[in-house]
Point group: C2
Chain length 500, copies 2
Amino acid sequence: MLKSIQESPLYRIANPRSIAFFGASNNIFAMGTNLLISLKALGFDGSIYPVHPEEDHVQGLKAYRSVLDLPVAADMAVVALPARIVSQILDECGKKGIKHAIVVSGGFKEVGGQGIELEKELVEIANKYRIRLLGPNCIGVANPPHKLNTTLLPYQGPPGFIGMASQSGSFITQMFHYLSGFGLGFSTAFSVGNEANIDIIDCIEYLGACPFTKVIALYIEGIRRGRVFVETARIIVPHKPIVAFYAGGSETGKRAGFSHTGALAGPDPLYEGMFRQSGVIRARSVTELFDFCWVLGTQPRPKGRRVAIQTHSGGPGAEAADACGRVGFDLPALSLETLDKLAPFVPKTSRLNNPVDLTFIKNHLDYFSNIPRILMEESNIDILLIYVLMLQQAVKRALEAMGVPKEQEAEKMSDLIDAQCQSIFRLFETHDKPLVGYTYQSFHEELIQGLLDRGVPVFPGPERAAHALAALAEYAKLHEGTKSNNESESLKIEAPQPHE
Amino acid sequence: MLKSIQESPLYRIANPRSIAFFGASNNIFAMGTNLLISLKALGFDGSIYPVHPEEDHVQGLKAYRSVLDLPVAADMAVVALPARIVSQILDECGKKGIKHAIVVSGGFKEVGGQGIELEKELVEIANKYRIRLLGPNCIGVANPPHKLNTTLLPYQGPPGFIGMASQSGSFITQMFHYLSGFGLGFSTAFSVGNEANIDIIDCIEYLGACPFTKVIALYIEGIRRGRVFVETARIIVPHKPIVAFYAGGSETGKRAGFSHTGALAGPDPLYEGMFRQSGVIRARSVTELFDFCWVLGTQPRPKGRRVAIQTHSGGPGAEAADACGRVGFDLPALSLETLDKLAPFVPKTSRLNNPVDLTFIKNHLDYFSNIPRILMEESNIDILLIYVLMLQQAVKRALEAMGVPKEQEAEKMSDLIDAQCQSIFRLFETHDKPLVGYTYQSFHEELIQGLLDRGVPVFPGPERAAHALAALAEYAKLHEGTKSNNESESLKIEAPQPHE
């Protein structure tokens, strides 16, 4: 294991102070050009040295005819050039003293034939100069706290807490937008490509040591060093959860993965065993992968599997109860003490139970304040699952009852929604229990955005919420008594500075 | 079975020419008031007669002190009054000659005790006057082709093809917005409540005969007339698919359903058997319920289980391959003929396979035109699953290459996206095969909206797409050789007019 993150071969790849850039030009059609656009768009504040055989300037930056002409040995090279010339370029990088590289270029082992030879040659040159290399056939790295993004698409949203290592570049670069829609983002994300030199296990080690990473996500098509994977993961997971999606789980998935990165997928039970031995939580889709990360990265560990469901109406409550039952959660009856505390908020004829059906709640504003607070206080309950629905009509009525004039309605509505979100958020501080929402409303609604902004996961439908909570409960059970990194160390460590 | 839809006890409930409305007032806090707001919002063009003991006008409509004062015996009564006076009101309706009613009021069997007595009394009065009654404890009916919506929330979007019968009112009224986000909507939707008189089977019969309904969705907490359910469904499903979500599938779900509508849920295998015997397709969540309806209502029946996956990049292809494998789909190799046809669109070094990975496609505009056309023509393939991603950068580059000036870019981009959607849409006309998309992009993107508007289902992630396609394939296999209503009769039948 790494003693510090600086020891990782990926440290200078994820945190370079300077980059030699091969393949970027002023031609918008070139892959390399688009990678450089992404890099500049995030505001990378280290030095960028484009290397181009003909141009004097590339995208406004001074260009160099050869890497040998660079004023310094850059911390890292990014290479997006045709496969047949990559080895020669890497050789020159070696001569210059560059020790780290991302090879984006495809056309190596994954295409078979001559590609296999080209990859061997590349590895030999890397070894000769002790260059540590990510790729080839990868999309590079996104490390938003360091303002680094060498991938195809511009990074979106603020940095997040998900550290990812992926055998597909798409699940890095094409997920920026997807994650930002849920208020999520990457701490650092690696596309590993063919893993000719650095592999996914090196990435896991880096992410294990990364202070911005609260949870590690893996997209796997095949693991080569199975034993080392298990050993490495075992050390990390008690302090930082690892979630994996294995695309080779079915026969068709296995074949698809092989033709993609040439990864040799094993039979599903082999991977199932590896994950179980190492304490890695398995997701069954990429959607689940990020769902699990979301809850694991934001919620405290539950003490058990007893859930209270809070709902506006019977159907969504029954659906959630069914979903919870399927993943092995209990829905215990509420204590008399809790029922007494809830009584003032509903008509006398209401018979409250679990799910707590609040169809006849007296004041809709209690739904996100007093009610969940009381439920969080219930000692029979480990987890709270809330149906998120705010009927604008009902809120308007509440405002009217409060004597708010019509012209102030919109502003008051915003204030009120904000206060409700804040009230939910505060429950985390006072109660060490997970709280997750589910909804069928649009994620563009102010209420839902307000919850997401405060790190309250809200899922489209209860079954995704139940599965994610089950992953959290499984993790909590496996690592009872251990301390999470998130609790033990401050996350306010300064981002590594480019010119430190 | 019904000989015609007019025979159904629900015909005048879903298609009333006039409504006597009890419980609506000028007080915005009253439930009935909000139901009347919904009704008026959709532009119901029959007569509405509010009955109110004190008001002369209710929401601008002339009000009547008693139902006996109405100028006609309205086709239907909507009753949203306290449970204790509902029987008396229904008695007066009977005297007036009203033969149909929706009783929204709760406080009957579902609360136990005195409520059970109140419900018995209600049924007796209904029987006495031969009144057919939906509810009590229901949210009523939405029949958008008839501009009828008696539910709590205003209807959103255009009418759709999903006919629904639900033992939860929420899954009618709170789904308007959800469905419209996917370009979907209800043909007619019934909230059945306690089923004191009309039950969910009556609704299924109505929807089976309804010309606007292409597929029937059921939310079930418990079925009382099990044998009749099986008999009724068996007759309908060969021509019109029925999809059901049973909330009592788990122990916790069963208990929740019971306290909601007092429905007696049976053990899960009993329901599993009922669904299998009747050919009803089972969904495992409300999300799946509508997913299945979406594909069953828009896509032709596949001839088999052989899928081609078209993707922009390896990872999403491998994930989809895995998802397809899990539901038992095959991913056959493409024929040499198809590979020959695809060759001009990719570089010579590309090795195409299934998933068809188009990372190195020459012209991104072929992705939604020539490529899927060729794949639809492949005789080894029954179903096409497409990863939907349009890289704005790539499209901009294509436009630039076409010589489009910068100021015309936005407009051209719109035209181009429209043309791409149209091209996908046209494939249905020329090829009798299902085509479904999956994506991680936002559903607010123009491209995805364009596909949804044309009835091309696009799912967030491949696993939902695969499950929905599996439901379609299962349905096609079960009913091979039968003709669907959608094919055999025109859907352009006029909506029943209020004053016909």
